[in-house]
Amino acid sequence: MNKPQLMHYEKPKHIKDYPCGPAAPAGTLVVKNAGWRTRKPIVHKEKCTGCCLCYLYCPEGTIFKENKKVGIDYDFCKGCGICARACIHKAIEMIKEGENGEY
């Protein structure tokens, strides 16, 4: 897999459906981290040169390479703002997260 994936999870109904001991297939996610944000990064594509500094510095790995520039996975971005400060072209701007948490 390219990265841990969000999947639908339901608590097992029968003891046999539990994994054997604390071991389970790698990289299964059940919740997003989006709700943590109070501000969110927006990439101004016209300024982005695809240098990928933000991609390197993101502690979450939510910045990905896209069409020689970068995109952001808002399901898991926590809005820390490291990317905005790292960008030497000032292409990333931190804006206030939507009032209802919509993004």
């Binding site: 608590k11 054997c20 001991g21 604390p22 389970a24 297939p25 790698a26 990289g27």
Partner: protein
């Protein structure tokens, strides 16, 4: 069958058993009286008789930790320890059983400090009955050898996947010499297939292991672990029977009753003292006394049903153990008594605390215990817990 006979110590017999089981990884830290096991294994590796990665770890905690790492990638792992080392790795014991790693560990039963003592008693492993490991107590060198092989068959069974501790009495068993039959490698290979599991780190199917669980899941994992340990009782019996068929030696599964069928007085034992008890029982039988010996082999899973069945006809049961849970009673007694109470039939039971710190238990001591039980059966009021051979006057207090 290709058997050879060798004159070896308990430790050496255990090492031979381990060699025949072909562990991939051996990690061990030396501690008296286990040292001979790891020394012999190191020699076997050096000679090329055993292909194992031998890790000279820097502590017992690391010994079991390394064994878990090896088990996690699907390798068969072995380690060995005793008393202080067993307790040093205590955190890892729970980790290994909770992690469902089928590791086999030899433990030389030795008295726990303080005071310091290198001599044998069973306080070390008995204080860890709750850690989730299956625990077997072997009686002689032959059983030591055989159980190392059986332990892997039990541990690695898909319905068990629980680590097994094989206990040998320190010095009295680890360091005494007996003639043992050594099965051939081919025969053992046919009995014990290579370790296969899906519960491992694997590049085809990567796993996240040893994770945390929230209060919403933890009990389910623990219930699953408990169920597997209980299920092990059946597997233990099956493995014992299969081993008996293949190698000609059976040990009775979870318990081994001796002359208990019509016994009125039964002495419950653990480990190497059983041999002496049988000799005394025979002597008393010749005097017309209806006595028997019930050797508990596995303390976990606890053979509650077997104990109830075997003691059904008895008037009185005594539990002889090299252990005490300070402020209360011996732990083996607590377990046995619980079974007896559940039987619904009132049987008097008494606890003999003996042999702590390596104090010898003689035939006379055992005779004393049978006499004590006989008097109790005849209505004499007896203290339910009796410290054997305590060499001082205690003003009749406690004990």
């Amino acid at each position: 069958m290709g058997n050879t006979k060798m004159f070896v110590s308990g430790n050496e017999a255990a090492a031979i058993g381990v060699k025949l089981a072909r562990p991939h990884v051996i990690s061990a830290y030396p501690i008296t009286p286990q040292t001979v096991v790891v020394e012999r294994l190191a020699e076997m590796v050096e000679k090329g008789e055993l292909t194992s990665e031998f890790l000279h770890v820097e502590s017992e905690h690391s010994a079991l930790s390394a064994a878990m790492g090896a088990s996690a990638v699907g390798a068969r792992a072995f380690t060995a320890t005793s008393s202080q080392g067993l307790l040093y790795m205590a955190e890892c014991l729970h980790y290994a059983s909770g992690g469902r790693f089928p590791i086999v560990m030899m433990n030389a039963n030795r008295s726990l400090a303080l005071p310091w003592s290198i001599y044998g008693d069973q306080r070390d492993s008995l204080s860890l009955l709750d850690c989730g490991w299956l625990q077997v107590y072997v009686e002689d060198a032959q059983e030591s050898l055989d159980m190392m092989i059986q332990a892997y068959a039990i541990a690695e069974n898909k319905e068990v996947l629980t680590p097994v501790m094989v206990n040998l009495d320190g010095f009295v068993l680890t360091h005494t010499y007996e003639l043992v039959e050594v099965p051939s490698q081919e025969a053992v290979d046919a009995f014990l297939p290579p370790f296969e599991t899906e519960n491992k780190l694997d590049f085809e199917n990567p796993k996240n292991m040893c994770f945390s669980s929230s209060p919403g899941d933890n009990m389910e994992f623990k219930y699953q672990q408990h169920r597997a340990a209980a299920k092990a009782a059946e597997v233990i019996k099956e493995v014992d029977e299969m081993y008996h068929k293949k190698f000609g030696r059976g040990y009775g599964g979870l318990v081994d009753g001796y002359r208990c069928e019509d016994a009125e007085i039964i002495l419950v034992t653990l480990g190497s003292i059983t041999g002496t008890c049988r000799v005394v029982a025979d002597e008393l039988r010749r005097e017309g006394k209806k006595v028997g010996v019930l050797k508990i082999r596995f303390m976990r899973p606890f053979p509650e049903k077997e104990i109830i069945d075997i003691t059904r006809g008895a008037k009185v049961v005594g539990v002889l153990e090299k252990d005490i849970s300070f402020g209360y009673e011996g732990t083996v007694y607590t377990n046995v008594n619980s079974a007896l109470l559940k039987s619904g039939k009132p049987i008097q039971s008494y606890n003999f605390i003996a042999g702590l710190g390596g104090r010898d238990i003689s035939k006379n001591d055992i005779k004393f215990m049978y006499t004590y039980l006989e008097e109790a059966a005849n209505g004499v009021k007896k203290e339910y817990i009796k410290w054997i051979n305590l060499g001082v006057d205690t003003d009749g207090e406690g004990n």
